[in-house]
Symmetry: C2
Subunit: 313 residues, 2 copies
């Protein structure tokens, strides 16, 4: 889920950023791929969006495991060790003097001319992009445009028989088509349904809601990306004794919920203000309900402890 909103302003007007392309650090303006690279021609590439806190990316092992799953789904046997990929991320952060950053790591199947069929030999292209973000942790400012306005879209998630939802690839048009629908309503995230009409996820986020009985989120049995922040939130809720239910839900369950929030690696936990134009106000305590606020606070504490040596605790 590649949402990098909110980071652009942090950037100074100084030196040109450097990206990691095919094993080398190059100025961003020279960071290119061949027009015959399958990543460009077909979106034939796996990627991860990560957030770095205090110089280190959040839950690298989870991202590396999901990337490996995506590559397996694509039959993309790049042969690179996780440690090699991590080193490229670290080099990119260091080259740009970035501690708090948005990071995107992509692996394409490279240039394999002449047919749609990929050859077994992968001439992979590895790209790492990094951009400054605000500091995370305790008392951090959110890296999003405030509470989200969520709108159900006509564009639905594809069935996993057509495109496996747990593979994070450069085929992202489905989400773009959903976001384009929002131009009419002014909402800023799509509430996308699965082929059966149950709620799935946002265009770049996982969905949670609470209705007084439990914290609920669509189960990974549906066409849902297994988000790393989604997993983190479920873990935190579990530690706090908050009941969590992963299930199958109709859109009305979200529209009628007391609290709704979205998660992704960049936003972390983003409260939802309206669903299909209807205010989410639960018990009238304002935009960010008590459970959302609690989980956000616990999330920030966890980041503070693990990535900033508890500096602000």
């Amino acid at each position: 889920m590649g949402e990098e909103r909110g980071g652009g302003d942090v950037d100074g007007a100084g030196e040109e950023r450097r990206y990691h392309v095919d094993g080398e650090l190059v100025p961003a303006s020279d960071a290119t791929v061949s027009v015959e690279d399958r990543g460009f021609a077909y979106g034939d590439a796996a990627f991860e969006t990560l957030r770095a806190y205090g110089g280190d990316v959040f839950r690298w092992d989870d991202h590396a495991a999901r990337l490996a799953d995506t590559c397996e789904t694509l039959g993309l046997d790049h042969g690179l060790a996780d440690s090699d990929l991590k080193a490229r991320i670290d080099e990119t952060l260091a080259a740009n003097d970035l501690a708090d950053a948005y990071v995107k790591l992509s692996i394409t199947r490279g240039v394999q001319p002449d047919t749609l069929d990929p050859g077994p030999e992968v001439d992979h292209t590895v790209v790492v992009i990094a951009k400054p973000l605000l500091r995370g942790g305790v008392d951090s400012a959110p890296v999003h445009d405030g509470p989200a306005a969520l709108q159900t879209t006509k564009t639905r998630k594809p069935s996993s028989r057509a495109l496996p939802a747990d593979a994070k690839t450069h085929n992202y048009l489905n989400g773009i088509l959903a976001r384009l629908e929002l131009r009419v309503t002014g909402a800023d995230e799509a509430l996308m349904l699965d082929p059966e009409g149950n709620v799935a996820e946002g265009a770049t986020s996982n969905l949670f809601f609470a209705d007084g009985t439990a914290l609920k989120t669509p189960s990974l049995g549906g066409p849902i990306l297994p988000g790393v922040t989604r997993r983190t939130v479920i873990e935190i809720a579990g530690e706090e004794g908050i009941p969590v239910e992963e299930g199958t839900y109709a859109p009305d369950a979200v529209r009628e919920a007391d609290e709704v929030f979205l998660t992704n690696s960049t936003w972390e936990i983003r409260p939802v203000e309206t669903v299909d134009g209807i205010a989410v106000d639960g018990d009238g305590e304002g935009v960010e309900g008590p459970l959302t606020a609690l989980l956000s606070r616990l999330f920030d504490r966890r980041i503070e402890e693990r990535y900033y040596d508890g500096e602000r605790l």
Copy 2:
């Protein structure tokens, strides 16, 4: 449907090929796009695959119209005239001294940093690739590897509610996943089904079959690309008084057909030898049934008349 198989060998070992990128002809090795171009990051791009015969691309108006439809679906308002796009193709053919060629024209939404949502202002990137192909027309050698072995895949076409099938975009993983399944069986084209289990099309081709009553092809009501060669074949059959039926068909109808063939801009008409390992032999007249042979001959004559001044007629 981007299948360029069969053209590579024609190329000499002479000068480096030149491609058209962002308004300029550049050596193929310098033909690149930014790693932040949305065509690379998300497959957020429209394209057409065309075949040039005798220096001119086949049915440009049809390709231009479909490209415009794709761009409309994507909300990609590039503002370029069809004549401008055609000029870039012609310049690319001329720069490479190509009369008979495979051509791929792509328009991406360009670099729009920081969110998945495309901005209304498109900083498009236009790419034209051209590669030599054999001469078409009468007595031409086929530009494919001989009759196809077709195999039904588990990977299905996405519903048009998820990804409109009539939009030809750089999101091509669905077809790649289908082709990957063929590694096990040794087949060379996928018989892809729609979400309901009816036949749709190949990974890069439209499907036709004949059963003694009519020439049949899945209707555009399903998730089918409106192929230019598909339309041409329907026109030719109509002119010859051959009944054509566009409908909804179960896979068994194809498995039991007397003749089966595939079409795309590069292959033109490609006979199918086996479907799911079962030989297509109809009345025992060999791989290419009589209707397929007739339509191929008529297709070649049409090309000869319109693009080679009837030289071989």
